[in-house]
Symmetry: C2
Subunit: 337 residues, 2 copies
């Protein structure tokens, strides 16, 4: 029994099953793929694959389907990432050009990716820590409530409402703004944390508490801010592949709505040397996604934000991986160095 052929059999099973959604048997296998042996031999190979936990039979007289472990082996060792068709490349390029602001770019991107893959696509807001501060604005909403707005050179705009603990009055806030802006304009966001204490210290003691609150707010804005937000598209694709989620798509939708879950999942996914990482079925830390796979990759100036696709484990991995990789590349290019 040859090892290489066994892998070839596994590949054939995965490909056929992904294509037909039906358990694939030994006879069909020898017919559709020109393996040079008889169905009986394939049966032996299949029995071995089953012993290794790579495939499984839904019931006695059915063909085999891949297990999570089988998909894993397929993705890691067997499959080659398929190149995109020229038409697809063109679609990517033309759809992502003529972009407006960041929101717009991400929105278009995620729609595109969901269309390319026929799955749910998600994209995390990019980190833009190299940006420097362009403008700071404090807007008094109520006696103690202040709206903080932070504008970075990259076009990132962040806002947040804050309780400063004391009533500074319109003038006090204006002075505070001038002070902060004067001290901080041009500061890189990544250095903000170091610069803030000095700014706070040079404020009159009576207002230092408020200044401290504002500084805290700015720090939060600059740092975590939108990076934990995400955009999503193509949830309707889940319903189409209804059959692939035996229980129901309910748990999956729940997971998608609990964005925290997805964000953790995305950031926990280690970076694969090939650029695209895959998390298959029960490998996912979240129960609702036990029958789903996530294909993701990093993108952006410093490759910290993630973009990816979520679908049933029965998924065309090579094509999906190619699409994710390609879209991530174009997106990185658009967002600039």
């Amino acid at each position: 029994m040859s090892e290489p052929r066994k892998l070839e059999v596994l590949r054939a099973i995965v490909e056929d099953y992904v294509h037909s959604r039906e358990p694939v048997g030994s006879k069909a296998l020898v017919e559709r793929h020109h393996l040079g042996v008889s169905s009986a031999t394939i049966r032996n190979d299949m029995a071995a694959l089953e012993d290794e936990g790579l495939i499984t039979a839904p019931h006695t007289s059915a063909g085999r389907i891949p297990t999570d472990k089988g998909y894993r082996l397929f993705v890691d060792q067997i499959s080659a990432v398929k190149p995109l068709s020229p038409a697809e490349k063109k679609a990517i390029q033309s759809l992502l050009e003529g972009s407006d602001d960041l929101d717009d770019v991400l929105d278009r991107t995620v729609r595109l990716l969901s269309q390319l893959t026929n799955q749910v696509a998600v994209v995390q807001y990019p980190h833009l820590s190299r940006a420097t501060i362009r403008h700071i604005e404090f807007v008094l909403l109520a006696p103690r409530q202040v709206l903080l707005v932070l504008i970075a050179t990259t076009g990132k705009v962040e806002q947040r409402v804050l309780d400063v603990g004391q009533d500074l009055g319109e003038d006090g806030i204006a002075a505070m703004r001038t002070h902060f802006l004067g001290s901080l304009a041009g500061t890189p966001l990544s250095r903000l944390a170091q610069s803030l204490p000095g700014v706070v210290f040079s404020v009159a003691p009576g207002q230092r508490a408020a200044a401290q609150a504002l500084a805290q707010g700015l720090e939060t804005l600059a740092h975590s801010s939108r990076e934990d937000r995400m955009v999503m598209a193509g949830t309707a694709n889940l319903a189409r592949s209804n059959v692939d989620f035996p229980l129901s798509i309910g748990p999956v939708l729940e997971a998608l709505e609990e964005q925290v879950v997805l964000l953790r999942l995305l950031s926990d996914m280690a970076q694969d040397p090939r650029g695209v990482t895959v998390s298959i079925g029960r490998e996912n830390p979240y129960d609702g996604l036990a029958e789903a796979s996530v294909v993701a990759t990093a993108y952006g100036p410093d490759s910290t934000a993630k973009i990816g696709v979520l679908g049933p484990t029965r998924m065309d991995y090579p094509t999906t991986m190619a699409a994710v990789r390609a879209v991530a590349r174009y997106l990185s290019r658009i967002l600039g160095p």
Copy 2:
């Protein structure tokens, strides 16, 4: 055959069907509701109701279920909006207090509403046209690309990227900003359109084209801006009520993703005197929602934005309407006068 009793029968059918999801027959009806007549009489009434198109029988020997028209009559004439339980009221109040910024409030609200009703909840961003301009910022992103940021006194922040057509340089942009800000600070957003031409006119002719572009951008920002955005929660509830969407929830998910569709639907819904408007099944202008109902109402300072709930036509209208109305009221109160 008495009219009042016929309506009573319709109400009983709607209530039983909503409760049990099963077609309801004449016998079960007389047992569960103390109508003082026999099943044969009810049968006559039911036949009449069927003739009027208010109920229908899935097949010969099944009970009856309400039609869209039946639900409509039920909602308009029969049902009374149920008051919320004290526990629910408390939940609303406590969950909506301690709010951060607008995004946060809306996010919490929509989650709350979806939990209260076990349906999909949507909320449209409120119009804030009474706000005045607090700050304007132009950020040069690329030689001709400018990021516009508009901050209003209410805490609304809008941004947009624009191509100004000519290269103004850092200094040119800064001058332009000073000019715009000086002329427009304090202007109500609603008056912005009138003020802009003057501002553009007082710019040196060589830069007037750019100024015009910027003015156009500001106008767009102030006017349409976020008002056509919406937040949504509870899509997982759709999967739970899978059975209620015979075909599949696919079309519904598609409709939800095409936010344009929903926005139009919400704004097209006339304001009902009772405060809550209902659009039932095929009354919806969008095909994908032929088996769904929308319960919505206006909220906010000038009652222009909408909040609502979407679910299967087989929905507990009285309770849902009560929840939507209550949440809208609390939301309006929080957003202030």
